[in-house]
Symmetry: C2
Subunit: 356 residues, 2 copies
């Protein structure tokens, strides 16, 4: 199997056959201690595969946390810090984050702050974390239902993507990651967007993951601290994040990140149509594509004020306004757009109206 290699800010992302490079990495670095962070699911479904393919990794301690976004918080982070401390992790230790974006985000935040920073590598096991959380250096945890409100920008030593992990991933989770791939197409590669449409989730393969990681990587390399063009990646995320936070706070079975982003993309495509020239036909195409795959989530009118509150608390805002990235066309983004609360409300009403 081919290995695709992407050079990011001073580290490599390996897609495909990545155990050779990982083995070499471990042999060269000679860490005094190695820790593997996994959640209850990845510890069962991914850890055995992982260690089997790495016969030379003999000694390691496992830090297991409860699965789910609700646990991506400071309490669990403290738990990780204390485990590292109790197990005697020094600055010459390595943390391997084996899991979805919840594990890679929180694990990398814990590593970036433990003893002012120890080395970590990412082994993303969900489609979402493979195509999205794998590059960009964002680490973080949630607080008071605000996503990633606490975090750092810290790069891993390397990222190793193995698509084999996806076999055990529930279809809902797969679709959650697929939403980010659609986003990559929508913001800068219309060809890729239409490819994804015709491929229709038939098979997400290494080449597609490589393509998505590459798109994201090019953007973050140009603007690592999100001062300008990195904001392209926020398409669908201003409203999407608010819907996600709202759902996390209220629903027993909350929306997944990608599901919320799909809703956000529909709403923001509508805003793009009314404000930045996205054609009606393109809007219809986006709506149909996304509605075919993602749940119909009814957002009660009474929730709009709370959603607006979440948007105002979002990290990306400056000077009290709510910042949007919109589309001028499929494959053409435009950053730093602002919308009024009334426009946002209309977008949500429109979304609700799609499945009467």
């Amino acid at each position: 199997m081919q290995t695709f290699i992407i050079n990011s800010e001073g580290y490599n992302v390996y897609v495909g056959n990545s155990y050779g490079p990982l083995q070499t990495f471990l042999e060269e670095k000679k860490y005094a201690k190695t820790f593997i962070l996994a959640d209850t699911n990845t510890s069962e479904k991914c850890l055995p595969k992982f260690t089997e393919k790495l016969p030379l990794l003999k000694e390691y301690d496992i830090i297991e946390i409860d699965a789910g976004e609700a646990h991506k918080n400071i309490d669990y982070c403290i738990g990780i810090w204390k485990m590292l401390l109790d197990f005697g992790a020094g600055r010459d230790s390595l943390l391997i984050n084996l899991g979805g974006g919840m594990v890679t985000d929180m694990g990398s935040f814990a590593a970036s702050t433990y003893k002012r920073g120890i080395d970590f590598i990412q082994v993303p096991t969900t489609l979402l974390s493979q195509v999205d959380a794998s590059v960009g250096g964002k680490t973080g945890i949630d607080m008071d239902h605000v996503k990633n409100i606490i975090g750092t920008f810290t790069n891993p030593e390397a990222v190793f993507i193995d698509t084999d992990f996806l076999y055990t991933l529930p279809r809902r989770e797969l679709l959650s990651g697929f939403a980010e791939m659609i986003k990559h197409g929508l913001i800068c590669d219309s060809g890729y967007y239409f490819d994804l449409q015709s491929n229709a989730m038939g098979s997400v393969d290494n080449a597609m993951i490589f393509h998505s990681v590459n798109i994201k990587n090019k953007i973050v390399l140009e603007d690592p601290k999100e001062r300008n063009i990195r904001k392209a990646l926020n398409f669908g995320h201003t409203i999407g994040h608010a819907v996600e936070s709202y759902s996390l706070a209220h629903d027993k079975d909350p929306l997944l990140h990608g599901e919320a982003i799909a809703i956000g993309m529909i709403c923001e495509a509508w805003l793009s149509h009314t404000k930045t020239g996205l054609e009606e036909s393109a809007l219809t195409d986006i709506k149909n594509f996304l509605l075919a795959y993602y749940p119909n989530y009814r957002i009660p009118e009474g929730a709009f004020a709370e959603l607006a509150e979440f948007m105002k608390k979002d990290k990306k805002n400056e000077k009290g306004t709510i910042n949007f990235t919109l589309l001028e066309g499929i494959g053409k983004f435009v950053i730093n757009q602002t919308c009024t609360e009334e426009e946002i409300r209309q977008a949500l009403v429109l979304y609700n109206g799609l499945f009467k």
Copy 2:
């Protein structure tokens, strides 16, 4: 009054008349919101002086925390994060840390992780924080009685040192900072060491603070991430930190940082004498100087094992050994020394024996 300016890693440290530059800084940056973090003491004793000298700083929110090292922990840090969130701090906000090292360390950690990093400035109000915590980019909080175990390396936008704050500082706190100045002399400037001795705390002035900050700054600029020569600054700190942690865990009125470091310097001067050639006369000089100013703290023999545990947990250690910086002479440090537990025990016994 003269303003001394020190260029550190991309930011300036102003000593002396620093309100002019601070005023200019605020005018240029035009932060959307300004927060001042202070503890119960600095909010009473320093905040009025500070705002009086900055008439143009009109709007700000105050975050007040309880004073004392025992509160430099994750619970208080969460409190700061939540206040920032509730008061609507965005990435275009500024946090002013007004206080001793406890406030500047925890405040800078909170700022460096809130929304993945907002700007902060340091206004150190104790001698210790002026001469030591003011440069080097170390942020941090304690956990499980281990000092600064969680933190980042993040530089402030600027540091403004005003020695006027020292008038209200208790003499014990002043001496705590003085210990770090003595350390600066001991590791690289014998002339400065003897100056401090003859000055004998008569007056700590801007020029002396400038001299100390300069020594530390030169060292950290050469080695920001503490891979080699920055370890010079750890003289007295391997044993000192352990004694400090021990005292924090057991004493009602625990030792101050500088007081513990003074003990550490006596012990490590003795280790220097037995291992790295520090002359007997120099050892005696150091002992006499420090014992004249710092408390006689009896360390029970039964505590040695616990102290060794603290030393092993110290961030600076690699590959299971305990790392020391020792002296070859006054003004000449040598890094990466290791001592056996028996040698450390002997140093502690010797220290105990000094005041039978």
